[in-house]
């Protein structure tokens, strides 16, 4: 018997697997984490309502599409500034204050540059770099081709290089 989204066990496993990625996905677009969580919850509610119509294999792309549509419909588009936490880098405890300052400055520049990117470029780039998703995974979730993902990734990287040159 194929897995049915209507089975609670299956549904819960889908939630466990994709909830975080969905929240992050919406956060990369909106810059508002609480709102991103709400839209994620709404997307799962939709999936639950439609559980009979959505085959198990299509569940994740269903979730990302629903969340994206909700974001486009609900969230007023405004300029966002994304800020990210840095993983601790204790191995660099000996670095000079000068270096730390430069590093912080560079981070802020990158954050601003990334925030200024078109939504679809920024989202894909961060899904790859932060959520560690492979291009194929991103393509599956968003229902686009791997070629499109590659193009947007490359374009983003080239634009970010221009920023680093100005430093």
């Amino acid at each position: 018997m194929t897995k049915s989204v209507c089975q609670e066990e299956t549904f819960k496993s889908i939630f466990s697997e994709h909830a975080e990625a969905l929240v992050n996905f919406i956060f990369y677009k909106s810059g508002n984490y609480a709102e991103a969580e709400d839209l994620m919850q709404d997307a799962f509610s939709k999936l639950w309502e439609q559980c009979r119509k959505v085959p198990f294999e299509k569940a994740k792309s269903f979730l990302f599409t629903v969340a994206n549509n909700a974001f486009l419909n609900v969230v007023k588009h405004k300029k966002i500034v994304l800020k990210f936490e840095q993983k601790g880098h204790s191995q660099l405890s000996q670095v000079s204050p000068q270096y730390l300052m430069e590093e912080a400055e560079f981070k802020e520049k990158l954050e601003r540059a990334i925030s200024a990117l078109p939504d679809n470029q920024r989202t894909i780039f961060l899904m790859n770099r932060i959520d560690k998703m492979k291009y194929r995974e991103i393509a599956e979730k968003l229902g686009i081709s791997i070629k499109t993902v590659e193009k947007r990734m490359g374009k983003t990287l080239i634009e970010l290089r221009k920023i680093s040159k100005n430093l």
Partner: protein, 299 residues
């Protein structure tokens, strides 16, 4: 290199499909340094870990205002079970559905069954039977009085609170008011059962049972029951029972000061004054009809 190829080159280096050496040969060593600097910086960034356990609880709580997942599935299961039960009950009640035919006071009614059997109900009487099984199971319950013309077929059974009448194909009258039963056979044969006593009536015979005990058979030359020719006939009948019959035939209320008397004779069904006279005169009683109150006083 056109921009498209340049994009793909960057993307494939980022995904590890193209080596650092390839980048150096295509874009120069400075480009590689730039790319490393950017990617190394960004790759230290992280998002807060999402707590999927509490997130799922939150989801379920939200859904419970609609329906929580488990209960939804259970609900569907439960409701389908309930629906099948309801369907069974519905089918069963349809199958065993009983039909009751009444004739109200001051009205006689004729009912024809599917097999051609005819029942004529005297005033205020009723029969109840199961419509669906009628052809194989000709049982009916009688309250009051009825005349039957039974087509030949499966045994025809009339249940009354005072006894049971079993027939094959015949014409007979059953009168079952209060605690009395009277059966008159006009054609064929009728078997009358009261408690454990039984009697078989032939054409022109009649029998009564009072307080669940069968009386001796009597001979009658009547062609049809009295009520069928617009009369009621009594033999040594308690006056209250006679008045009950008058009440049924004329849909009126009769108050009686002396209930000790008994009456033998007939009264007609189409003239209240004449009927009352034929009952009261032989007993030396007088009566008064109040048309406004639709009642009669007999003294």
């Amino acid at each position: 290199m056109d921009s498209n190829n340049k994009e793909i080159l960057h993307a494939k280096w980022l995904s590890g499909e193209i080596s650092d050496e390839e980048i150096i040969s295509q874009l120069g060593v400075n480009s590689l340094d730039e790319l490393h600097k950017i990617v190394n910086a960004i790759d230290t960034w992280e998002m807060p870990a999402y707590n999927t356990e509490s997130g799922y609880e939150k989801f379920k709580n939200k859904q419970s205002r609609k329906t929580i997942p488990t209960s939804k599935i259970r609900w569907i299961r439960l409701s389908s079970i309930a629906a099948s039960f309801l369907l069974l009950i519905f089918a069963y009640t349809q199958y065993t559905k009983k039909v009751t035919i009444y004739s109200s006071y001051a009205e006689t009614k004729t009912h024809m069954f599917g097999d051609g059997t005819k029942v004529m109900l005297n005033d205020g009487s009723s029969i109840t039977y199961t419509e669906r099984t009628w052809d194989n199971n000709r049982h009916l319950d009688l309250v009051g009085e009825a005349f039957f013309e039974v087509e030949k077929g499966s045994p025809f059974i009339v249940n009354t609170s005072n006894g049971t009448v079993l027939v094959l194909g015949t014409k007979f009258n059953v009168r079952a008011w209060d605690d009395k039963l009277r059966v008159e056979c006009y054609e064929g044969k009728v078997k009358v059962q009261v408690q454990k006593e039984t009697v078989i009536l032939q054409k022109g015979e009649q029998v009564s049972a009072i307080h669940n005990s069968l009386q001796a058979k009597q001979i009658s030359t009547k062609k049809r029951p009295d009520w069928q020719i617009g009369q009621s006939r009594f033999f040594n009948e308690n006056l209250r029972a006679v008045c009950d019959e008058l009440e049924r035939q004329y849909n009126t209320v009769i108050s009686l000061s002396n209930e000790e008397k008994t009456f033998s004779g007939t009264f007609v069904h189409d003239n209240l004054r004449a009927a009352l006279e034929s009952v009261c005169k032989p007993l030396g009683l007088s009566f008064e009809i109040n048309t406004e109150k639709n009642s009669v006083v007999i003294e």
